[in-house]
């Protein structure tokens, strides 16, 4: 398929005795928004790390943006892949401003020995504006709330001008309001920058409403995939999370997926 930007074939990843991925194959098309859902320990984060080259394959192959990932080319490809993780524990006295942290997103693109120029700062300021953080640009990064820090992480990704957008539980530990804001922002970024997005979460309430496709993962395997309405049924979720259907119904009541 010509517009496939991520092609994972039979990937096996192991951390010492634990097998994190047990022969996973997945294709993601350009412009797709794919939600990856599953319980803790399902291999969701590992799946993202083999896409950005930070995870090492024991077996199988991964092709990203037309390049087969090897140990040698990972950091070149990462310049084209935006990655947002969970809220980080940042030292409140860290001597870096919000604007400087967003600029870090451009450092890989700039390469060694090149300093950021006017255009780079313009890109940074535009990214901060898009995520609504311009007014806090000069504030020390450690003084922000969790929700604000995730907005900054999104701005850093935008400043990177990536082609792929990987999000690993970006709303974990955020309050309800901050979670909704971040989810809306993620979708806005995906649409406005025409990105291909993979969004990992264990929490169904944190899955963006407008996913094109949902992939279910359990015990290092892809357990099901399809459109949200096909896949996110009470029966399948009950089996995925090993809880009775009645409990799934109860928990989904009142959430955005209900």
């Amino acid at each position: 398929m010509s517009n496939t930007v991520i092609n994972i074939k039979n990937a096996v990843v192991s951390y010492r005795e634990d097998v994190a991925l047990r022969g996973v194959s997945l294709k993601v098309k350009s412009g797709e928004f794919v939600g990856i859902v599953g319980p803790n320990g399902a291999g969701k984060t590992t799946l993202l790390t083999i896409v950005n080259g930070l995870g090492h394959l024991l077996h199988g192959q991964v092709t990203v943006l037309g390049h087969r990932l090897t140990r040698g080319n990972g950091h070149f490809l990462r310049k084209r892949v935006g990655y947002v993780a969970q809220v980080q524990n940042i030292d409140p006295r860290m001597p870096l401003s919000v604007r400087e942290v967003v600029m870090i997103g451009r450092y890989g693109l700039l390469g060694l020995l090149r300093r950021p120029g006017k255009r780079d700062w313009k890109v940074v300021d535009e990214a901060l504006e898009l995520v609504g953080m311009n007014h806090l640009a000069r504030r020390p990064i450690g003084h922000l709330s969790g929700g604000e820090q995730q907005r900054v992480a999104l701005a850093r990704c935008l400043a990177q001008e990536p082609e792929l957008f990987l999000l690993d539980e970006p709303t974990a530990s955020l309050d309800w309001r901050a979670r909704i804001d971040i989810l809306e922002l993620v979708r806005l970024v995906h649409d406005s920058r025409h990105l291909t997005t993979m969004f990992v979460t264990h929490d169904l309430g944190s899955l963006p409403l407008a996913c094109d496709r949902v992939v279910l993962m359990k015990e290092g395997l892809i357990w099901g995939e399809g459109s949200p309405s096909e896949v996110l049924t009470n029966e399948k979720l009950s089996q995925l999370y090993d809880i009775p259907i009645s409990a799934v119904k109860e928990r989904r009541r009142g959430t955005i997926l209900a």
Binding site: R78, R93, L96, I104, Y107, I141
Partner: protein, 282 residues
């Protein structure tokens, strides 16, 4: 006050050593403070001491032994902590105690007087030769040059190593480069400050600068300034009160840190926030 002492060659060498060592140690200290790795630094300092003693015992250049041992300790501790095979505290603790054990073993095996060994333990900035100063100067220029050239990569790695890796920065190479420079800096300042005290001169000026600014560039400059100030004031006090120079330099750097901590604007912000919270609660 008779300051004619400062016209002597040995004192001028000491002033230069305090200047160069202050800058190099404090610059390394910024990495140590911001990357939360003070124990790796302590471990490398004691390893350097053990390596230098091995050199004295087996009659080869102690600086070569110091450099090799400090790098060896970093090469063991770094990957162990990196791969999560052992917690950083455990691996550092094991290597630290091994290095201290080796240091005293080499000292015990050394025939004759132990004056050379004790000099490495306490330091003697007044015995620096011109070649020591040249060596120290080269390392200082390399340390400052690396920070200047790779500032943005260092900034990203200091902030968050995994994030730096995720945007395509070779953060692991940067980390090991920093450990290499730490080893080199400890080695060339070992004779001046001493194996037991050197780490204070790395940590204190940077920790003092950390109290005073939210700008990384300013932190590097302030730390270097405090490092030099500690060295020069320590030398002056050591001369005025006829007390050991290495120890006086370290005590001076500790006093600078305490003053910075007391007058830290970061502390005031916290106090102000607390007052506000108390006010809101009432």
């Amino acid at each position: 006050m008779d300051l004619s002492i400062f016209s002597y060659q040995f004192m001028q060498n000491a002033i230069l050593a305090a200047f160069l060592g202050g800058i190099a140690c404090a610059t390394i200290g910024v990495f140590v403070v911001l990357m939360h790795m003070p124990f790796i630094g302590v471990c490398m300092a004691h390893a350097a001491f053990a390596g230098a003693l091995l050199g004295l015992w087996l009659d080869f250049n102690p600086l070569i032994g110091a450099f090799a041992f400090s790098l060896l300790s970093a090469a063991i501790v770094g990957p162990l902590a990196d791969r999560g095979q052992l917690s950083p505290e455990t691996s550092v603790g094991v290597i630290f105690s091994l290095m201290l054990g080796l240091a005293f073993l080499f000292m015990g095996l050394m025939p004759g007087t132990k004056s050379g060994a004790l000099e490495l333990l306490w330091g003697s900035i007044l015995t620096n030769t011109r070649s020591d100063i040249i060596f120290l100067g080269i390392v200082t220029i390399v340390v400052v040059g690396v920070v200047f050239i790779f500032y943005k990569e260092i900034q990203a790695t200091i902030f968050h190593r995994d994030m730096a890796l995720a945007v395509g920065i070779p953060a692991t190479i940067i980390l090991y480069g920093i450990l290499f420079l730490t080893g080199a800096t400890i080695t060339v300042t070992l004779r001046s400050i001493g194996g037991l005290l050197i780490f204070s001169l790395i940590l204190n000026p940077a920790a003092a600068a950390y109290q005073l600014t939210y700008s990384l560039k300013r932190m590097f400059l302030l730390a270097a300034g405090f490092g030099v100030l500690s060295g020069w004031m320590g030398l002056l006090f050591s001369y005025l009160f006829n007390i050991p120079s290495g120890a006086t330099i370290v005590v001076t750097s500790s006093v600078i840190f305490m003053i910075a901590a007391v007058f830290s604007p970061k502390r005031k912000v916290k106090g102000w926030q607390q007052k506000l919270l108390v006010g809101e609660g009432q």
